[in-house]
Every structure is written in C-alpha cells, then in structure tokens.
Amino acid sequence: MTSTLDALRTELRAWLADNAPKDWRAASTHDQFAAGQRDWFARLVAAGYAIPHWPEPWPGGGRSLAEQKVIYEELARADAPRLLLSFVSTYHAFATFAECGTEEQRARYLPGILAGETWCQGFSEPGAGSDMAAIRTRAVRVAREGGDVYVVTGQKVWSTMAQYADYSLLLARTSDEGARQAGLTYLVMDMKAPGVTVRPIHQIQGDEEFAEIFIDEVEIPVSARVGEEGHGWAVAQATLASERGLTLMELSYRMRGALSRLAEAIRAAGRENDQGIVRDFGRLATRIDAVCALADRFLQKRMDDDEQVGDASIVKLAYARCLRAYADLGVRVSGLAGQLHAPITFGDLNSGNWMADFMNSYAWTIAGGSDEIQRNIIAERMLGMPREPKHWTLAESKP
C-alpha cells in the first residue's frame, strides 16, 4: 500500500518537474487566466492526473482516497495552478451524474468534461443565499412537438466562472406545494441556449471570479432533468457533498507553503527582530500546521469511513479563519507600501499581494456555506444544541 503511494508520488513529482506551469501568476487578464487553466487541465487529463476520483475505466480514474491525497499534496508542493475552471465539472457535475443521473446523461455529458467543457453552478439567488430552499427561479413544464420542455425564468448569482461555462447545474422551482425543498427540480442548462445572459461580478479585489446568470424563458428538455421532478433538493446534496475534503487539504498545504512569502515580507520590512511580529508569525505558523493536521485527520476519517456530521464544517471554518489571519498579518507587515495598488494574481489565495489576499479570503468565510452557517451546523447537528423555532412574527404586525 505505502509502496504504491510512494511510487505514485515519485512518478508524479518527476512529471510535475517537467510539466507544471511556472509562469501562471503572470496572467494579467481573465482570458489569459482561463486559457492557462484550460491548457493545464488538458495536460493533466492526458497524463492521467485530472480525475483521480472518477471510477475506472476513465483515464487516470479509480484512485483511492489515499492516492488522491498524494496527488493534491504534490500539486500543492509543485506550486502548480489550482484547477479552478474545471472544478465544478470534474467534482460537482460528475458526482451529480454518478449518483443521480441516468446512463444516457453520463454518456452525454462526462466525455465532454474530459475534453474541456466547463460547468457552473446555478443554485444561489439574490433571495436564496444561506437559505437555499428559498429559490424562486421557476420551471414550468410545457408540451412541445419534439418532447416536453421546462420553460425556466429567474436569476442566479455567485456562480463561479459562469462566464466561461458551457453548462450550468440548475435548481429551479416546479411547485409551491408542501415543504419548500419538495418543490425544487434539478436541471442541466445549456449556457448557449437562447434567453441565457451572464454578467460577471466585479469583486472588491479586482477579480471576476463570480457571475450572475439571468434566465429568461429558457427552454430545457425534460431529458436534461436529473432525478425526478420535485427531488432537486436531494440531488443538490449529492452535488455539494462531492468535494470530500481534498480541496481544504490542498488549500491548507498551499497556505503552509506560502508561509515563506510572509517570511520574505517580514524580512523585506526589516522586522525579523520585531518581537511582536516574530511571535505572531510563530503563532500563525503553528496554527497553519494545526489546520493541515486537521485536514489530514478529516481525510483519514473519511478513508476509515468514520466521518461524522459537522466534521467538514469544522475543517472549513478552521481553514477560513486561518486564511484570514494569514492575509491579515501580511497586510500588517506590508504597512503603507501594502496600501499602494498592485496588480492581482488570478487563482491564488496566498499571492503575497496582501490587500488582494485579504479581500480574497472572504470568499472562504462566505462562499460554500458561510462561517455562520458552519457554526450552526457544528452547534446544532454535531453538538445537539436545539434549533430555533422556525416561525416568527414581526412585532409591529401583532394586533
């Protein structure tokens, strides 16, 4: 077992030495960044490292969780770009079809993913953020000559890199009856279909990682529905459970690797003998190690089939808070110089552009279930503290 892992590590390390992009941080436009992502994904697919979590006989598939861990450790170690553009397609879309899709859907969509088609997620809405069941985008089933379609109208937001996506995983409301979750249906939307408009969101650090999707009477064939009508909520759980802890492990390791950037900043500011800074740096370095150990332990629990509800929330919360602390110390050390605007690096959370890193770190305390939602999960579902009553009444509306 260990020797298999060692062999994989050796082989991958050698491959990365020759193939890992070195100059990816130089991308100065979104399009350059996207082109670099596509190229890197294609090379990983060809070499058999892009989809280790897919089953055989997909090329490079059928890897154990322990092997997947080795792959992400080595990608982090080589400081190769993270696979951001293909993340939703290889994880979210794949898991959705693997668990809830039909054989026809797998045959139709999965080969395209390997060929570089990219996907985005259409779950959140302006009125449905943490409260995803509040989704209002409506899908109405209508008869057409070539077969029934859903006519979909609504708006999605916080969709990562939707401006580059070929397809969207979409949650829409098909009914207002019963529980809010029971009225949701899961669809695949072609982003080139008439009626789809994408508008990138300008973020505070200058990136456009997220986008809004406006959906105006878009027709989606019933064959592109995943699961039964009204079962969308359950299908979405399969989508969201697909990351399996590897992402946070990879990010934690990358943050540890990027401590050297903070050390450089401290030396550059001439503060390597400033006791307060040295202490805070030592505390941060220890905390980052602790987060890495936590992510390792979580993956180990998954490998042992011992995961408990709330475990994933603790890892995400711990990572997100630590990432903020990392960027915060960078901002502090960089002083006034750090307040002078510098061009951002795309796809790097620990770039050493401290203001950009600091603002970027909010993506992890808000997206994918905010810190507050994670705390609720930990308190209620892990520690058994009772939920608040569901219904409340505005004081003014009382007679």
């Binding site: 040295v278 740096f281 030592g282 505390r283 220890t286 150990a293 936590l294 308190a379 058994g384 009772p386």
Partner: protein, 325 residues
C-alpha cells in the same frame, strides 16, 4: 506494545469517569500505578511496555479530562530520565520502583528558566528530585532538603520550592552531549504532557458547558437555543478539534523541542479560551466555588504558565520559521 490507544482511553475512562472520581490524590496515584501508566513509555527490555509517544499522548489527555491531582507529569519525566540514563549501580531497582509508583519529582518550569528548583510537585512525599543544571542531568536525594509549599490558585496540584542539602547524594544520569539529548527529550515530553492535559481538560469542560446550556432555561427556552451562544460554542469546538489534530499529529512524529513547545502553546491557548468562556457561559453559577468550572479555569492558567508560556514558545517558533533555510 500490545495496548492500543483505544484500550488505554477506555480503561482510563472506566476507572475515572469524571473529575470527582479522580479527586483523592492517594487513591488516584495508586490506581494509575496499578494500571501501569508509568511503565508505558519504558522500553520492553527495561521492564516497561514499550509504548510510543502517541500512546502517552492519550494518557496525558485523560489526566487533564479528570483534573488528575498529584505529580503525574513529574513522574513521567523522572521515569523517562531514568530509562534514558547512562548505566549506574542501582539504576534498575530505581526504575522498577518508579514504574511501580514511587515518586520522583522534578520542576515543571521550562528548563531554560534558571537553576532554582521551583514548581516542584509533591516534593514533600518524594525521595528523589530530577535536577537539570549546566550540562548535567542528575537524580538528587531529598534527604535534608529544605522544601516549602507555594500555594497555587490551581487546587489540583501542590507545588513546592526546593533547596537541596549541600551534601545531598547526587547520581549523574547524563552529562555533556548525552545530557543535551536527554534534556531535549524531557523538554518535549513536558510540552506533550501539558498540552495533553490542556486538551483533555478543554474537552471535559466544553462538554460540561454544553450540557449546562441545554439544561438551563431562560425566556422559556434552553440557553442552547440562542444563536449567539451556539456560535461561541462552535468556535470553541473548532479550536479544540484543531488543537487536538496538531497534538496527535506531532506527538508521535516530532522530536523537535520548539515544534512541541509551540504545539503546547497552541493547546494551552485553546484550553484557556474554553475555560474563560465556560465561566461566562455558566453565568452566575460559574462564579461559585460549588460548581467545578473554576477548577478547570485555574488548571488551564497553570498549564499555560508551566513549561514555558505561549509568549516564549511562539517567539521561538517564529524565530525558527524565519531563519533562512
């Protein structure tokens, strides 16, 4: 080694279900001696059980969970020193007696502090004290020594100042390079023991606090229903689990004194946060001597101060991480 971490944990929880069960120092000491805890870390060819630091880590956390009284940590250091010492006449019988529970005490201050013997637990009932001084580690008889108890806020430990008799019998355990090597091992073990104590205490206190919040009702609902309190508890849980991961991760893998010291600082900070919040979350009863919250708070703050505090270790860790590779 045939005992697993789970078995150690189970047996500890069976004999000490909670802090009240461990409250009597003499009885607790006898119990853990009979369980063979002091033999755990000693190699099998020296009559021990040959357990690694990973197993010891479990035991230290169990000690903290029940606020185990007495000189347990000092005894582990004494046994480690005897097992790692150069050979001398009588070493075998001393080690055997120590493994069976005959107390060897030692200072729980960080060795770098100074040469005075302070913070020596239960010196009044020990025959020997382990002393570290200028390139030498020695076992010194306490006959004729001047010992005086220094009352502490923490009621679960009794600490003493010790002034050795001028003609006290000294046995050198290690000197020169060997003393340095053994000293680093003892530093690491002290950090590990205090970190484990903190995490076990933190875990017990957090559980107790959550139970209290579920039980206590105000405004016609349990306090545990208020989100402001849930979020504080969730933060404490995350801090605890993160610190535990570092603890069990480094316990068996790291021998670097600074890495273990920084880990100790991280663990003690987590316990401290839990203890400080636990008093607040218990409200008025958290201020009463009747409730056990204060016992944990005081132990948390003593753990944080012993064996080098967070300011010291964080600075060391920072210097190490900043040093050019």
């Amino acid at each position: 080694m045939t005992v697993t971490c789970e078995e150690l944990r189970d047996s500890a929880q069976k004999v000490f279900p909670d802090w009240e069960a461990a409250r009597d120092p003499a009885h607790s000491w006898q119990t853990i001696s009979e369980l063979g805890w002091f033999m755990l870390g000693v190699p099998e060819d020296q009559g021990g059980l040959g357990a690694g630091r990973g197993e010891l880590a479990v035991i230290f956390a169990e000690c903290g969970r029940v606020l185990l009284p007495g000189a347990v940590i000092a005894q582990f250091l004494g046994v480690e020193a005897l097992a790692g010492a150069q050979d001398f006449a009588g070493r075998e019988s001393l080690l055997e007696a120590a493994m069976a529970g005959e107390l060897i005490t030692t200072s729980l201050e960080h060795a770098g502090s100074d040469a005075a013997l302070r913070c020596v637990p239960d010196a009044d009932r020990a025959r020997h004290v382990l002393v570290r001084q200028a390139g030498e580690i020695a076992l010194v008889a306490l006959d004729g020594a001047e010992i005086s108890q220094t009352p502490t806020w923490d009621l679960s430990r009794r600490l003493f100042d010790v002034t050795l008799a001028a003609d006290a019998r000294r046995t050198i355990l290690a000197s020169g390079d060997a003393a340095e090597e053994l000293g680093a091992r003892l530093d690491g073990l002290l950090s590990l023991a205090l970190a484990g104590d903190a995490l076990g205490g933190g875990q017990a206190l957090l559980t107790m606090t959550i139970d209290y919040l579920k039980d206590r009702r105000q405004f016609e609902r349990p306090l545990a229903m208020f989100q402001a309190l849930k979020h504080r508890v969730a933060n404490l849980k995350a801090a605890l689990v993160t610190a535990e991961s570092l603890y069990y991760g480094r316990a068996g893998a790291s021998t670097d004194a600074v890495a273990l010291g920084a880990m100790k600082a991280h663990a003690c900070t987590a316990f401290r946060q839990i203890a400080e919040d636990a008093v607040q979350l218990h409200g008025g009863v958290g201020l009463t001597a009747e409730y056990p919250v204060h016992l944990f708070l005081k132990r948390a703050l003593l753990d944080a101060a012993l064996g080098g505090d967070a300011d010291y270790w964080e600075e060391q860790a920072g210097r190490q991480a900043l040093a050019p590779a």
